[in-house]
């Protein structure tokens, strides 16, 4: 194996390409990150280190194993609220709050395409003044199909999806992975309320941007403690998968849980606003 590796690394260097890992596309001067001449050496060094230590298997940071390689974390919070709410973005009549499935995924990256997958799906659902947050996450790649099936099973025919940018990001990504794993699903049929656009219409120019974290802090007055930025989620899961550390994966669970709780809060906040107002 290492003979081929060395040969490929040498040929790539001769042809002017970067390290084996992630050659950056060349799109104008801004994309031209300098390529360290010793990137290959670093790569080869890393390989030796990795080979020296066989991958340990870490304990899952939380939850119970509900299928091979899939863990479920469930938490319930008190959430006193009117069982119906007006969401004119969806319908003119009041909507049963219990139908709302606030969901959010954590993925292996933002590159797009079928190679990007969700390793965690969180959902919040309300019932009788209680908000139940259920989160599924993978401890092995092979658990993906089971996780997707479990998530799909939560989606009864009356469910209404609620997300932040989920129409353009989470839902298409999940649809691709469902298709790839041959799982029939209900995702495309269900109504989907994506708060990104209503929030933008309401708050553009009011706050510095319309990211969920900003809206949460400024409009909902929620303050997070020791939050792991979403951008670090892929690395956190990889670190766990490679047996390096499970600490940040636990923080991803916290982050994702807060996201879906925020979605329910945001729904109440927006319902209290007249959508026709500027």
């Amino acid at each position: 194996m290492s003979a081929l590796h060395d040969r490929l690394a040498r040929l790539r260097a001769q042809a002017g390409a970067g390290a084996l890992a992630t050659p950056a596309p060349l799109l104008g001067a801004t994309a031209l990150a300098p390529r360290p001449p010793d990137a290959l050496r670093a790569l080869l060094h890393a390989r030796e280190q990795r080979r020296a230590a066989p991958r340990p298997v870490l304990a899952a940071p939380a939850g119970v194993e509900v299928a091979a390689g899939v863990y479920l974390v469930e938490r319930t919070f008190a959430y006193a609220a009117n069982p119906r709410l007006m969401l004119p973005w969806l319908a003119q009549a009041p909507i049963e709050r219990s139908r709302l499935v606030c969901f959010d995924t954590e993925t292996t990256g933002l590159a797009g395409g079928v190679g990007t997958r969700a390793f965690m799906i969180g959902s919040a659902r309300w019932c009788a003044d209680r908000l139940t947050v259920r989160q599924l996450y993978l401890t092995t790649m092979a658990g993906e199909a089971a996780m997707l099936r479990l998530f799909n099973a939560w989606l009864d025919p009356a469910a209404i999806l609620v997300s932040y940018n989920g129409k353009s990001y989470d839902a298409p990504l999940l649809k691709g992975r469902l298709r790839l794993n041959h799982v029939d699903h209900r995702l495309a049929e269900l109504p989907h309320l994506d708060w990104l656009h209503p929030v933008r219409r309401r708050y553009r120019g009011v706050f510095e941007n319309c990211r969920l974290a900003t809206i949460e802090r400024q409009a909902l007055r929620i303050v997070r403690d020791d939050d792991l930025p979403g951008a670090q989620a892929p690395a956190a899961w990889l670190a766990f998968l490679r047996g390096e550390s499970s600490r940040n994966l636990a923080r991803v669970l916290d982050h994702n849980r807060q996201d879906v709780v925020t979605l329910m809060r945001l729904s109440d906040h927006m319902a209290a606003i007249d959508p026709a107002a500027p």
Partner: protein, 795 residues
């Protein structure tokens, strides 16, 4: 049932025949070859009995009542589930070979088809044609182009509703396959994959495309379909073999055209010699213009092919000065090339189809199958680099049954001169073989990476023929794949297709940044292999003949910073190449010497540069260059003669060395023609084979010996003397050119010998053994020395 039509006599026959007779009479010494093909009648077959009536109606509405024999042959094989490659001349109705079975399947079973064309213009043409058939037969099918210009909101509709999606390999690679789940419905019903112009998929590009097809087949298998491939090609020497290499399946070749063709004359035209000492001839441009003026005046619709966009503009101006000087008259001459807006190009195509123009000047943009109707004369201003491309361009004249004339006007470039002096290449069916190397290591690795993104791999899987496990291991070590048991999943946060350019072995291009007056503008992009030769600090870099000077080269950052300059000189790199044989794969006797094929290590060093004044071309100074050596592990073939053989044949070592350099030049020329390779892709070198010394030509064109450090040394100083002549693939890892050349090595030596022996020059010229100084007339001459080396190597 087949029938034969009588050839209709055509009144247009007279001018072409008259003109050819007059030229032969008047310019006989310039015409090195006159090839004639008699007219051929059409061979017809009936529509297949199972053709749906709606399709018959659609065809009848387009004036088609029966099929040419090859169209019916294609139908029979394709509908039997065989993969097919159709190789018939321009305007022989190739498109119906695939449109008919595709339309039938779409019409009857709502099957889907994917069409791939090398360019966007061809794709749009194809859709226009499909839509005409669709309207004519009220077939209700949806054909759409899917390319970089397709708006985002239209893409969703195309994915879900398109019956025939017309795209190109780059889109398939970058946009369709990495998002295949969005195309799930399309793939589930995909029945036919049409790949047209497959002769253009050769070398690096073809090797990439073969791997894109492997990925496509992998995705198809995931959706449970095994589509039939229908390929089309211009005439090349190995259509079936090439098609099979491209799609990795057994392919049936249809090479016998049933389409009629008129009488055809092809003239090989060599401009007259105006300086016999230097071997300088009148320019191809002046000759082409003279010929075009005569054909247009004789009422013949004429197309002139030029090699560059700039030359298109120049030639168009010359013709317009003659034919379009009166603005009140209708426009008779137009130019056509890449870089024009699509609308303008469509307008010219329509004018050509309608017969409203008398002359058009074009680049290769009109070489491919854009429909421009019937023309009478094709004039090639210079050899286009391959026989296949020449025929493709010559075929633009003589669509339908009119007599046609093609003229290849040679420039003084060696390849042109070689071709124009060997009319048998044009007479012989098709000598060129399209070659690809889909298992080139770097290209393979790139596509296994892309394939792993699209669908996970399992240990033991194959990609094409190659087992993937080792590659997966490499990618896992690099952190882009994650292994779990026997399964390998993509794990990185990147989009690998975005980093793989189908037209390069590895994407390491340099950008040239203009920072005059505080600007930061990119003015050019230079491929990695050329960077050391053109972007060293001090170099004058030219864009559209405007000079910039390189001030700083950031090698690691792949950037050259330049500022505008008014220098009255240009620069030319001084570089040395030394080769070392690493492994011999195969070998054979070659006359009194040996010929081998194997792996070599190439080191190229740019040691400095010359400043050369414009017009006078005098050398006005030198500059040093300090760049890392360029290294290359690649494949090569090489010839060697033992010391005792050389000592018996040559009085002095200098003579033998000059002979080797001349022989290398001639062999390189003929090998490029055989391998259908660009000069840049196949390189030549002369050295000792162990990198101890190597040879180059000095300013006088004489051989100079250099030691491993690149210092010039006396030619007799080394103890051992066994010069080695290399031809090598100029790509890290090789690109499959040198192996077939090795298997035809004896023929190469004979052809090179013939090239030098039959050259009319006095003792050597750029057309045979390379440029030498006119004043340099040693005895024996350099050409004679090259002949001596080649004779020793000839069996």
């Amino acid at each position: 049932m087949s029938s034969v039509d009588a050839t209709p006599t055509d009144r247009a026959a007279a001018p072409v025949t008259r003109l050819v007779a007059r030229w032969l009479d008047k310019y006989g010494e310039r015409i090195s070859g006159h090839l004639q093909r008699p007219a051929q009648p059409a061979r017809w077959r009936e529509f297949p009995p199972d053709l749906a009536p709606a399709l018959g109606t659609a065809l009848a509405a387009r004036g088609i009542e029966r099929l040419y024999s090859h169209q019916r042959e294609a139908w029979d094989h394709v509908t039997a589930g065989e993969h097919v490659v159709v190789v018939t001349p321009t305007a022989s109705g190739k498109t119906l070979c695939y449109n008919l079975p595709v339309l039938a399947a779409v019409h009857a079973q709502r099957a889907k088809a994917l069409y791939l064309f090398p360019t966007k213009a061809l794709a749009q043409d194809q859709v226009a044609e499909l839509l005409e058939l669709n309207t004519a037969g009220a077939l209700g099918l949806r054909a759409c182009t899917f390319d970089g210009d397709t708006p985002a909101d239209a893409r969703q509709a195309i994915r879900l509703k398109g019956d025939i999606v017309v795209s190109n390999p780059d889109m398939l690679h970058q946009a369709i396959l990495p998002h295949h789940t969005k195309w799930a419905q399309f793939f589930e019903s995909l029945r036919y994959i049409v790949i047209d112009e497959v002769h253009s998929y050769r070398g690096v590009f073809g090797s990439h495309v073969a791997n894109v097809v492997r990925r496509l087949k992998r995705v198809c298998a995931f959706y449970g379909v095994q589509p039939v491939f229908i390929l089309c090609s211009a005439t090349i020497g190995n259509p079936r073999e090439h098609a099979e290499a491209l799609v990795g399946e057994t392919v049936h070749a249809i090479t016998d055209s049933g389409a009629p063709c008129g009488e055809r004359h092809v003239l090989l035209w060599n401009p007259p010699v105006i300086n016999p000492d230097l071997g300088i001839r009148a320019s191809a441009r002046s000759q082409s213009m003279r010929l075009a003026r005569q054909t247009i005046r004789a009422g013949l619709k004429t197309i002139v092919f030029a090699q560059s966009r700039l030359m298109v503009e120049v030639l168009t101006k010359y013709l317009k000065d003659v034919f379009d000087h009166d603005p009140r008259e209708r426009e008779r001459i137009r130019a056509y090339r890449g870089g024009y807006l699509p609308n303008e190009r469509r307008q010219t195509e329509r004018a050509l189809r309608a017969g409203a123009l008398d002359g058009v000047v074009s680049t290769s943009a009109l070489e491919l199958g854009v429909d421009i109707g019937a023309l009478d004369v094709a004039i090639l201003n210079g050899f286009p680099g391959s026989i296949a491309a020449s025929w493709q361009r010559l075929g633009r004249a003589g669509r339908r049954q009119r007599p046609a004339l093609g003229v290849l006007v040679a420039s003084s470039a060696p390849l042109d001169q070689y071709v124009v002096r060997h009319p048998e290449f044009f007479a012989a069916a098709t000598p060129e073989q399209a070659r690809i190397a889909p298992d080139q290591l770097l290209i393979l690795l790139d596509h296994i990476r892309c394939a792993a993104f699209e669908l996970p791999f399992t240990s033991g899987d194959r990609f094409g023929e190659a087992p993937v496990d080792e590659f997966l291991g490499v990618l896992a070590e690099a952190g882009v794949l994650h292994q779990e048991g026997t399964r390998w999943d993509w794990i990185a946060d990147s989009y690998p297709a975005g980093a793989v350019n189908l037209r390069a072995v590895a994407d390491g291009n340099f950008v040239v940044v203009d920072r005059s007056e505080g600007r930061q503008t990119i003015i050019a992009e230079v491929d990695y292999a050329s960077a050391a030769l053109t972007l060293y600090e001090g170099a004058i870099y030219l864009v559209q003949s405007r000079p910039w000077q390189v001030e700083h080269l950031d090698w690691a950052g792949r950037k050259a910073f330049v500022t505008t300059t008014h220098a009255d000189y240009y620069t030319d790199a001084i570089d040395y190449t030394k080769l070392k044989v690493l492994a011999r794969f195969d070998g054979s006797r070659s006359g009194q010497g040996l010929c081998h094929h194997g792996e070599v290590h190439v080191v190229r060093r740019v040691s400095g540069y010359k400043k050369i004044r414009y017009y006078s071309h005098e050398n006005i100074g030198y500059g040093p260059v300090n760049l890392p050596d360029q290294e290359l592990h690649t494949t090569a073939l090489w010839w060697q003669l033992e010391q005792d053989v050389l000592e018996a044949a040559f009085e002095r070592r200098q003579d033998a060395l000059d002979g080797f350099l001349g022989a290398a030049y001639a062999l390189h020329t003929v090998a490029r023609v055989r391998a259908m390779a660009d000069g840049h892709d196949l390189q030549k070198a002369v050295g000792s084979g162990d990198a101890a010394w190597f040879a180059s030509r000095d300013a006088q064109g004489r051989g100079q010996w250099r030691n491993a450090q690149g210092e010039a040394v006396a030619v007799g100083s080394a103890a051992s003397f066994s010069p080695t002549l290399f031809l090598y693939d100029n790509f890290a890892g090789g690109i499959g050119l040198s192996e077939p050349l090795f298997h035809g090595a004896a023929g190469l030596v004979r052809a090179a010998l013939d090239l030098v022996e039959s050259c009319d020059c006095n003792g050597g010229c750029p057309a045979c053994i390379g440029p030498i100084l006119a004043s340099d007339t040693p005895q024996p001459s350099q050409a004679e020395l090259a002949v001596a080396v080649l004779s020793l190597l000839a069996a």
